[in-house]
């Protein structure tokens, strides 16, 4: 029950999921050519994160987003009017809240999705939306595109371009990528002159003697480095790394960033945790909450997150 597709080969020179991974060297700018705007009526053909070739007969007019990052991307590139449904956790921008929801954390509602009659369902890869879900939607004759989980900020720019191509907002995507690139470049330049403080980014502290922090290879780890900090979690194992209080005391980070602020952690609460009082960051009051949506959603607000972090790490330099 796949839509009958005309296989007009219109190659869009975008980095695909198989493109080379970019290292986060400060100052590097994506050298990939911008996405060209696609006139309505021309067929669009892209390969997604699952290796599937997805074909649309024209820019998508009724898009359902299965991930909050995708919703943010759609609105940011100017395709907000073409979105007809979102997942429950999509809460940005405010206009998105008016859209009907089709499920989320405890499963997706196939009936709701089908009844909205989308011509494109935008999923997020890297385990966020399961392959079973994609397959189910395909079974029902829907077109699904799975955006890869970007390992770097530049890879995220590629995703913006892809969504732009799919929705006919190539120009909007390009403009957005350009402005984001400039902001990142400016930040990279300022970082060069600075000394990097040690940072502890907290993901979860249900067990205050054994909290979880961003480990090596995680996106937060990347952002910390790019924002001009040294992640104490970089020495550990795994992306969701557990650190013991003892290790933390030895590392004695200069700054503590609370990625679990949304779950109720505050600098005051952290200060009274038993055994934490010896940490320099607590004594100097360098404990800050951060909106973890800015650093965990692979969308354009990652740059906001990067800047927010830079502001925390280097308050004098970044206003």
């Amino acid at each position: 029950m796949f839509p009958k597709c005309l296989f007009l080969l219109l190659i869009i020179p975008l980095g695909t999921a198989c493109g080379p991974a970019r290292t986060s060297a400060p100052g590097a700018i994506s050298t990939e050519p911008p996405a060209s705007e696609v006139p309505a009526g021309t067929s669009i053909r892209l390969t997604d994160d699952l290796g599937r070739t997805v074909t649309l007969s024209g820019p998508a007019q009724r898009v359902i987003s299965l991930a909050p990052a995708n919703t943010e991307i759609l609105f940011a590139i100017g395709a907000g009017a073409q979105v007809v449904g979102r997942d429950e956790t999509s809460d940005y921008p405010a206009e998105a809240l008016a859209l009907p929801t089709i499920g989320g954390y405890s499963g997706f509602n196939l009936e709701a999705i089908v009844s909205l009659q989308p011509d494109l369902v935008l999923a997020q890869g890297g385990g966020f939306n399961s392959p079973e879900l994609v397959s189910s939607l395909e079974e029902l004759g829907l077109t699904v595109y799975v955006l890869p989980n970007p390992p770097t900020v530049e890879a995220m720019f590629n995703n913006l371009g892809k969504v732009g191509a799919l929705t006919g907002h190539g120009a909007g995507a390009t403009a957005l990528v350009d402005s984001l690139t400039m902001r990142v470049a400016a930040l990279d330049e300022k970082i060069l002159q600075l000394s990097f403080p040690t940072v502890y980014y907290e993901l979860d502290a249900t067990e205050p003697t054994k909290p979880y922090t961003a480990g090596p290879g995680s996106f937060v780890d990347l952002l910390i480095a790019r924002a001009g900090g040294i992640n104490v979690g970089a020495e550990l194992q795994g992306q969701w790394a557990q650190i013991s209080l003892e290790q933390l005391v030895v590392a004695n980070p200069a700054i503590i960033i609370l990625g679990d602020a949304a779950y109720g952690e505050t600098p005051e609460k952290v200060a009274v945790r038993p055994g934490w009082g010896t940490l320099a960051a607590i004594q100097t009051g360098q404990v800050f909450p951060i909106d973890d949506n800015l650093v965990s959603r692979p969308g354009p607000r990652l740059v906001d997150g990067l800047e927010a972090m830079a502001k925390l790490l280097h308050p004098g330099v970044f206003k």
């Binding site: 499963g107 795994g238 969701w240």
Partner: protein
């Protein structure tokens, strides 16, 4: 003078239970997060008979009915049937009112298999998508096989050994599963989702994949009513009345485990149906396994369908995991039935 029960007594339990199943099927097809007006429903149903084509919005409604609700109804029906039937068989085999289909580790084995499969990124293809249910199925059967081999004493399989080995193995598998889950936090959500209610795969593939094992397993169980009755007298008496106890027990274990494994592989681990439905049937219709087995199969199908409808409807458009509904609703219902039961010696 001894009379065999009058014919209507023999038929009534089946009639009632089939009616219950029919109502549950109707509810499952008509209720969903998208409200289909009864008028349109009627048009769709009559349209099916003369292969009519529809225009919007009825076209989408018809699509939802045939491509989402119908396959799901059949899948849930088959799962409930498997759980009800094997629950009754396990209770008969072990002569234990607490027995349920997961007693000897099918669930834990399936969970371990699924989690192991989910930690590898399979290619996105038909077989790649079958990897997780297949791994769950293999995990379930391997566990039963290992437990059975562990419990064997010479030529016999003492029931106590089976239970002990099953519990031990199950705990082991669960511990392994949990530690795997803690390590692969990326897949954690997907694993928990699966454990609570299956892979939510649309379409007919899950049904077709389950069907052969279910037919085989439930088919054997349906024929095993008489021997299960015999087994209620204990191994000694059953053998003295001519039953080759070990062989029959192995056959029934295999059949029940096959059906359960197939059900669990696609629907996750749903509790209480296999435990409660046979008890309710026993309370209402007696302990003769020739009747109890088919009634538990039909009743299990209907009960799970009802639970699934409630899971979909109660907090629409959100869906509760079915396992939660079966516990929250099934247990009070069972207690109510138990209190009203006239015959205290129903077990």
């Amino acid at each position: 003078m001894v009379r065999a029960p009058a014919n209507n007594m023999k038929i009534r339990p089946y009639l009632y239970t089939l009616l219950f199943l029919f109502m549950a099927v109707v509810l499952s097809i008509t209720i969903g997060s998208v409200f289909i007006p009864p008028a349109d429903l009627g048009r769709i149903l009559t349209g099916w008979l003369n292969r009519a084509t529809f225009s919007e919005p009825v076209k989408t409604f018809a699509f939802i009915l045939t491509d989402i609700r119908l396959p799901r109804t059949v899948l849930v029906l088959l799962t409930g049937a498997a759980l009800g039937g094997s629950g009754a068989a396990y209770q008969g085999l072990f002569r234990n009112p607490l027995a349920d289909p997961y007693l000897i580790g099918v669930a834990s084995g399936a969970g371990l298999g699924a989690v192991l499969a989910m930690s590898y990124k399979w290619p996105y293809s038909f077989w790649g998508l079958m990897a997780v249910p297949a791994a769950a199925f293999i995990g379930a059967l391997l566990t039963v096989f290992l437990v059975y081999a562990l419990a064997r004493v010479g030529k016999t399989i003492p029931m106590t050994n089976l239970i002990l080995a099953g519990v031990a193995f199950g705990s082991f598998a669960t511990a392994l599963t949990t530690s795997l889950m803690l390590r692969s936090t990326g897949e954690l959500h997907r694993v928990i989702s699966w454990l609570n209610g299956g892979s939510s795969q649309a379409g007919w593939h899950p049904v077709l994949a389950m069907l052969p094992f279910l037919l085989f397993g439930l088919g054997i169980l349906l024929l095993s009513g008489h021997v299960l009755n015999l087994l209620q007298f204990g191994d000694d008496q059953a053998q003295q009345m001519g039953l080759p106890v070990t062989r029959v027990r192995t056959l029934i274990l295999l059949a029940a485990s096959l059906a359960t494994a197939a059900a669990v592989s696609f629907s996750g681990i749903i509790g209480f149906i296999g435990l409660i439905v046979p008890h309710v049937m026993r309370l209402w219709f007696g302990a003769d396994y020739r009747r109890l087995l088919p009634l538990s199969i039909i009743g299990g199908a209907g009960a799970l369908l009802l639970a699934d409808v409630m899971a979909r409807a109660v907090m629409a458009p959100q869906e509760l995991p079915v396992g939660i509904v079966t516990a929250l609703v099934g247990v009070p219902f069972f207690l109510w039935v138990l209190r009203r039961a006239k015959n205290q010696g129903y077990w």
